[in-house]
Point group: C2
Chain length 459, copies 2
C-alpha cells in the first residue's frame, strides 16, 4: 500500500515533491505544539490541480490528509495524528496579483504574513492581521485559525479581510468563493464557513485578501499601573473615546521576567503595564495621544510615556515584544508549555480573569505570567512546569480546566486566535453544546469519509 | 387541520397573539416586493420559548413557517410562498441590555434600527449598519440579509457587528452562539453561518450586537463630475488616502429625477455627483475634508461643496436622500419595479457597470436611474416599466439577466445587501456553482423537512 501511495503521489507532483524517508517524515511529525505523529508521506503540491488530484486519490483510498503551512500553530492543528499524507503548502507561496484599484491581493496559501506586508508596504498598503508569529506564519494558516493579533482592536481579525477563497474539498472538487467586492447577500456564505475550520472542511489553495492604505503616522504610549483594575478601566475609558490600533497588557510576572531577560530595560515593577499603538493622519495621532495620556493619568497611571519617533517607538515596544521570550525567566528550571494560553473574556472582565488566573497559578504552584491583547480581552499566558514530572502534568491539566471554566463563566471563551486543533478538541462539546451535532453534520456533508485533518476539533 | 393549527398556536401564545381571519392574513401575504401569498395563520410570539414551541409543532406536522420582521425586504423573503404559519417577530422588540463596559447591546429581533440608535445616541454610542429603510427595518431582518447601507465603506456590514445570536431551529432546539468577545477561534463558526440566510436555517430570537462610540464630528462633501470615469477614479484615489464613512453616487438620470422632484434643489445636471460623509475627531474630519476636496479637484470636479454644520449637512444630503423617492419622476406614467436593483462590482469597475447598465436600459427602452454606494461598488437602480403591459415584464426579465451577467463578468455579484429571497432564487446555481450542492446539504442538516421559509434561496 505505502509504495502504491508514494508512486501515485509522484505521478501527480513529481518525485522531487514527495518525501518519504524517515528523517523527512519525522520532521513533519510536529508543529509548535507538544503533539507529534509521523505521517506516511509528505507531499509538496504547486498548483490547485495538484491538491485536487491528491485529494481525489486520498478520498478514493480513505487516506488521512493533514494540510500544513508553516506549522507555527500551538494546538497540534498541523500534526498528522492519524498518519497518512501531509500536504505541505509552503511551495505555493506566490503573490498572484496586487490590485490597488480594488484594494486587494490574491495570494497562494504558503505566502508568509510579513513577506506579504513587506511587498505591500512598498506600495503604501498593508494587510492588518498580525499574529506574533508574523515572520513565519502563512496566510493559509491564518485563515484556518481566524488569526487575530495585536491590531484586531481597530482592524478586526483575519475573517474580516478574506474576500475570496479557492478551496479543494475532500472529494477533490474545487470551490471558488467570494470576489473583489466588500458586500454580498447571496444566502448561506460558504466563504465565511471555511474560515477558522483548521483544514477540516477543505484545503485553501488561493485567497483574495482585503488590504488598506498605510497610515501616515503611528505612535506608542506606555502606561504603568499599580492596580490591574485601574489598568482595565483605562482600556474601557479609552475605547469609549477613540479606537487605538492596539492595546496590550503585561502583568507583574511578565514584567519581572522581561526585566530579568533584558537588564537595561528596567521596566517599573508594577501590577500592570499598558501599551497603546495609535495610527492615522498626523492630526489624528496627536489627538489620540492626548486622549490616551489624559485617560491614563485620570486612572492613576504612574508615569505615562509616548512617542511618534520611529526609533523611540521600537524602544518603548521592546518590553512587550520581549514577553514571549522572557517567560522562561519566570523560573529557569522549568519549561514553557502551551496550555490555557489563549483565553478571551469581555474586556470588563479582564481584571477578574487576571486575578483568578493568578490565584489558580498559586493554588497549583505553577508559575504563570500573563500578557496579551487587552483591547479585545484576549489574555495569553506563559505557563511553566517541570516537564519530566508526571505530577506536574496532572496539575497542569487541572489548572487548565479551572482557567477555562473561569473564562467561560465570565462570558468568554477558551481560544481567541490560536484555535482548537488537538489541544482543545475535548472541549468542543462544552463550547458548542447542541450546536456540535450540527457542526458534525456539516463536516460529514463535506468530508463523509473523515479524511481531512482527522483527530482535530473533536472530529 | 386548519382549526387544529389555530387551536394549537393559541395554546402556545394565547388567542390575542394569533390572527387567522382573511383580512389579517391578506395583510401578511406581502412584503416590499411584488410577491404575495396568503398564509394560513399569523402568530406573534413574545419569547424564545414561544418560537421554540411553535417550531416543534410546525416540524411535527410539516407546516411551512415564514419568519417576518418589518417586511421591508425587496426580494420576497418574508412572503409565505407555501402558506402555513407567518411568525411575526415585531412584538419581540425589547432592548434587553446595554453594556457600555463591553461595547455591546443585547436585543430582540423586532427592535427597529433607528429606534436602537436613538437610544444608543443618548449614551454616546451607535450601531453603524444603516440600510435606507432604517426607520422601519428590524435587527432580525438586517442580520438575515447581512444588511449593508451607506456606512459599510468605513464600518463594514451587519455581519461584522453580530457578536452573539439565539436561534431557534426547525426542530425547536435553541442554539446560543457567540458572546461578548470580539475574537474567537473555536472551529466552525455557527454564528457566522446564520448571518444572511434569510430565515432558512433558523429563527433569530435574540442578538448581541457590537456598538461603537459616536464620532465627535461629521461632515459632508458634495462633488459633481462631467465624467463617470473621473468620478470613480476619485473614489479610488480618496480610498487610497483615507476611509470616509460613506461615498455615494448618483448618475445623470437620478440627478434629473431629483431636480424634478425637489424644484429648489437645482443640482447641476452632470454625469455623476459624489457624496462623501466623513467622521471622527474634529482634527481628523478637517484633514479628511482637505484630502477629499483636493482629490476631487484633481479629478476635475466642477464645484466641490462641503460643510460640518449640522443644518447645512442636511441640505447637502437632501439630493441623495431624495433619490429613492424621485425615481418615479424619470417617467410619471411608469411604475418602479425592484429588479436588478442591488448589483455590486469591484470599485474600479463601477464606470463599466454604469455605462453597460445605461446601454442595456436604452436597448430595451426601459428608463433606469442609477445611484448607490460607490465606496463599495454597490449600485442601486430605479427601473420603471408599464406594469400593465406583459411585454414590458418580458423586456424587464431580459434587462435583468443582462445586468446580472454584466455584474458577474466584471467580477461582481447580483446582490450586495438586499438578498436573494424569491426574486433571485433561480440564480442560486449560477452564483454558487458546485457550492450549491453543499449549501443544500447544510440546509437539510438543519431543516430536514424543509419547513423554514420554503421557496426562498432556491431551497
Amino acid at each position: 500500500m505505502e509504495e502504491d501511495l508514494i508512486k501515485s503521489l509522484c505521478g501527480i507532483v513529481g518525485e522531487e515533491n514527495v518525501k518519504s524517508d524517515i528523517v523527512d517524515r519525522y520532521c513533519y511529525s510536529m508543529d509548535a505544539s507538544l503533539y507529534s505523529s509521523i505521517p506516511d508521506v509528505v507531499v509538496f503540491p504547486q498548483t490547485t490541480d495538484h491538491v485536487s488530484e491528491i485529494m481525489k486519490f486520498a478520498n478514493t483510498n480513505g487516506i488521512p490528509v493533514t494540510p500544513r503551512g508553516a506549522a507555527t500553530g500551538l494546538c497540534g492543528g498541523a500534526v498528522p495524528l492519524k498518519g497518512g499524507i501531509v500536504i505541505d503548502l509552503s511551495k505555493m507561496n506566490k503573490i498572484l496579483e496586487i490590485d490597488l484599484d480594488n484594494f486587494c491581493v490574491r495570494v497562494e496559501p504558503g505566502v508568509i504574513q510579513n513577506e506579504l506586508n513587506q511587498v505591500l508596504n512598498k506600495r503604501g498598503f498593508f494587510f492588518p492581521p498580525t499574529p506574533g508569529s508574523k515572520k513565519m506564519c502563512t496566510i493559509g494558516g491564518m485563515i484556518s485559525t481566524n488569526a487575530g493579533g495585536m491590531t484586531a482592536v481597530k482592524y478586526g481579525v483575519t475573517r474580516n479581510f478574506v474576500l475570496g477563497l479557492k478551496v479543494v474539498l475532500a472529494s477533490g472538487e474545487v470551490l471558488e468563493l467570494g470576489g473583489k467586492t466588500l458586500k454580498r447577500s447571496l444566502g448561506l456564505d460558504l466563504l465565511q464557513l471555511f474560515v477558522g475550520t483548521e483544514g477540516t472542511l477543505g484545503i485553501i489553495t488561493e485567497a483574495l485578501l482585503r488590504i488598506i492604505p498605510l497610515p501616515e503616522e503611528t505612535a506608542v504610549i506606555v502606561a504603568p499601573f499599580k492596580d490591574v483594575y485601574e489598568a482595565t478601566k483605562t482600556v474601557n475609558s479609552v475605547l469609549s473615546r477613540t479606537v487605538p490600533a492596539a492595546i496590550e497588557i503585561m502583568d507583574r510576572g511578565i514584567i519581572k521576567a522581561v526585566n530579568a531577560y533584558i537588564k537595561e530595560l528596567k521596566l517599573p515593577e508594577v501590577e500592570a503595564i499598558l501599551y497603546f499603538e495609535v495610527d492615522g493622519t498626523r492630526e489624528e495621532v496627536q489627538r489620540q495621544i492626548e486622549i490616551i495620556v489624559e485617560t491614563c493619568k485620570k486612572h492613576k497611571s504612574l508615569n505615562v510615556q509616548w512617542t511618534a519617533d520611529p526609533e523611540k517607538k521600537l524602544m518603548l515596544w521592546q518590553g512587550r515584544e520581549a514577553a514571549g521570550g522572557a517567560i522562561m525567566n519566570l523560573d529557569r528550571r522549568l519549561v514553557r508549555v502551551y496550555e490555557a494560553e489563549d483565553v478571551c473574556v469581555p474586556i470588563s472582565k479582564i481584571p477578574d480573569m487576571v486575578k483568578r488566573f493568578q490565584e489558580i497559578s498559586k493554588k497549583y504552584g505553577i508559575p504563570v505570567g500573563l500578557y496579551g491583547h487587552a483591547g479585545d480581552g484576549n489574555i495569553h499566558s506563559g505557563v511553566l512546569i517541570d516537564v519530566r514530572n508526571p505530577e506536574e502534568w496532572r496539575k497542569l491539566k487541572n489548572l487548565t480546566r479551572e482557567v477555562y471554566e473561569t473564562a467561560m463563566s465570565l462570558g468568554g471563551n477558551i481560544s481567541a486566535e490560536h484555535g482548537i486543533g488537538a489541544l482543545r478538541a475535548e472541549w468542543m462539546r462544552r463550547i458548542h453544546g447542541e450546536g456540535l451535532k450540527y457542526i458534525k453534520k456539516i463536516k460529514e456533508a463535506f468530508d463523509p469519509k473523515g479524511i481531512l485533518n482527522p483527530g482535530k476539533l473533536g472530529m
